[in-house]
Symmetry: C2
């Protein structure tokens, strides 16, 4: 295992932030960038945020949120890829978007990472097309952390980037996920599980059966098949599945809190007594359910592209955006990509 190199050179880690990405752009972006810069300064991390997007809007937001003194570099980009844009069309027609130009800036070596809370599909495809793939990677993938009953979250990979997967792709997701968890969460030898319909080796659809063999024969710490019920129990650190299953599980999981809230509200609305009971329950519920919040995990990395591209939820709060920026710096500093390249070419 390569040792982690502290990024203490004169050259700071430059992170391009798509200031026009999220639903609340550029405000949450500016607030997140401000907090990230403060964090970097307080912790002696040599990194800086470059803002890209419509310069007048960015300047106005910087003034509004009292962030002018931080002297952000602002790059102007005339166009914006919206949530409604078809990724492929946007790629062809909006060559002056903050997304396109921001990634181009990174590609040209003028920045070490790119962060966006914009149109997920567009960020994925733009990143892959502009940055290219790491040698040995067939398909870049998105991983996402889910909470577990254990002290650690579990990384679900692929979480939606690739809906039709070959066994080889699943194997590569396992390799990339394992490296990400080792480097970012510091888990020494992450347990990797293959999401399947039964624990026995002979279970599953065709792709899962073959992927099982590949994972078993690899140098990964492969824990075998895991089932849907094992995910939240933290049975493994990395859950491997195709993006069709991963996207459905992720969105189902995200709806759990909404579902519970609706059940609680319906209960409280039945009678005054029940309203009081639910009122008494609130502090405990709130306390118990913290940590189920996606904001902490700071966006999801697009693993396998030849660069660092962090993708966030459209509804990202300033905290989420701050954490995405910190995550980007960490992925650069901990040389995640170098590890992936080594693992898939040895």
């Amino acid at each position: 295992m390569a040792t982690t190199m502290p990024n203490a050179a004169a050259q700071p880690t430059r992170i391009v932030l798509d200031a026009m990405g999220g639903d609340f752009a550029p405000h949450n972006e500016i607030l997140g960038a401000k907090d990230a810069m403060q964090h970097f300064r307080e912790n002696g991390i040599n990194a800086e945020v470059i803002l890209i997007g419509k310069e007048p809007e960015i300047r106005a937001a910087l003034a509004k949120h009292g962030a002018e003194h931080l002297n952000f570099t602002v790059l102007h980009a005339d166009e914006v890829v919206t949530m409604e844009d078809e990724p492929a069309v946007a790629f062809r027609k909006k060559r002056n978007s903050s997304l396109y130009l921001g990634l181009q800036h990174h590609k040209e070596g003028k920045a070490e990472a790119f962060v966006s809370a914009g149109n997920t599909g567009a960020v994925m495809s733009h990143s892959t097309l502009i940055l290219g793939r790491i040698d040995g990677v067939s398909r870049p993938t998105i991983g996402t952390f889910l909470p577990t009953t254990e002290a650690y979250p579990t990384l679900l990979v692929d979480a939606g980037a690739n809906v039709d997967c070959k066994p080889k792709h699943l194997y590569e997701f396992g390799v990339m996920g394992s490296i990400y968890v080792r480097r970012i969460l510091g888990v020494e030898n992450p347990r990797v599980g293959l999401l399947n319909v039964g624990e026995e080796e002979i279970k599953g659809n065709e792709a899962a059966l073959e992927a099982h063999t590949l994972l078993k024969e690899s140098s990964l710490n492969f824990a075998g098949n895991i089932e849907g019920r094992d995910i939240l129990m933290g049975a493994v650190h990395v859950v491997v599945c195709d993006g069709f299953v991963g996207n459905i599980v992720l969105k189902f999981a995200e709806s759990m809190l909404t579902f519970l809230k609706a059940k609680f509200t319906a209960f409280a609305d039945k009678s005054f007594g029940q309203k009081l009971m639910m009122g008494a329950a609130k502090p405990a519920l709130k306390g118990a359910l913290t940590g189920m919040n996606y904001e902490e995990y700071g966006g999801v990395p697009l693993l396998g592209v030849n660069g660092v591209s962090i993708i966030g939820h459209g509804k990202s709060t300033p905290l989420a955006l701050k954490n995405m920026i910190l995550r980007a710096e960490e992925v650069v500093r901990k040389e995640v990509n170098k590890s992936i390249e080594t693992a898939l070419n040895s």
Copy 2:
């Protein structure tokens, strides 16, 4: 739509119950059968339960639970298919099992339905092999109800019977699920959704794309694609997916309560104050989360077999078993199979 025929003929609906099926057999089975019989009598339903399994054990349990006066017909079967048995092996080698002989009894026309809380895989494959398929059905399927924020549950179909599915199979699941929900829950024109990674028609893996076209062109009330987050929101009455995805979603959903309990316990264990808070929360939690219990739904039907076979959880309580028996009678009375045959052959 065919009208529902009251089952008022002299011949009662005879339901064979696998008395050796579940983890607590024959006790929960006998208790469930007793309650079901009481229900039939009290509601003037002309139906009876036939118990099959090791006769001495059944007789002892009938005596123990004070059910001798109900004069159940008891059929002796020397062997038991256990939870550990490989379904195909059990089918070949245990021809005197309660599962095999019970289904045979149904097949021979000596009973109208079969109910078991035994080895799910074995109940499925035995049922398909012994009863055969309804004309027009390519693959029998298992549906399972999940709770929603609406007043109705949603039927997830396939919930694990078929891990590799062709578009045509998915279409048939939609047809069978729709009929089941219409007949059993009384929903006039059930909304059917295709579980996918996006709402747009062009989203999804290959099977989903083609299934979308088939469902769209059918006479079903097709609501288009739905996403993982729409399931618990009750966006549709029937969620169509392959058994690989369905099984993973179902088991993930089942683990939600365990996950929440673990979070609540961890919260309460942190301090005495938090313990008190959680104590105050308990009544509300309990009240709000009822209805997430599988027992109410009374097992899942194996749709598409040429007969009625209801499969229950190994841990089925007496209440769950009672509801499985009532469900079996209902499926017979409401002629679900006839509707399926008509729909798939017209």
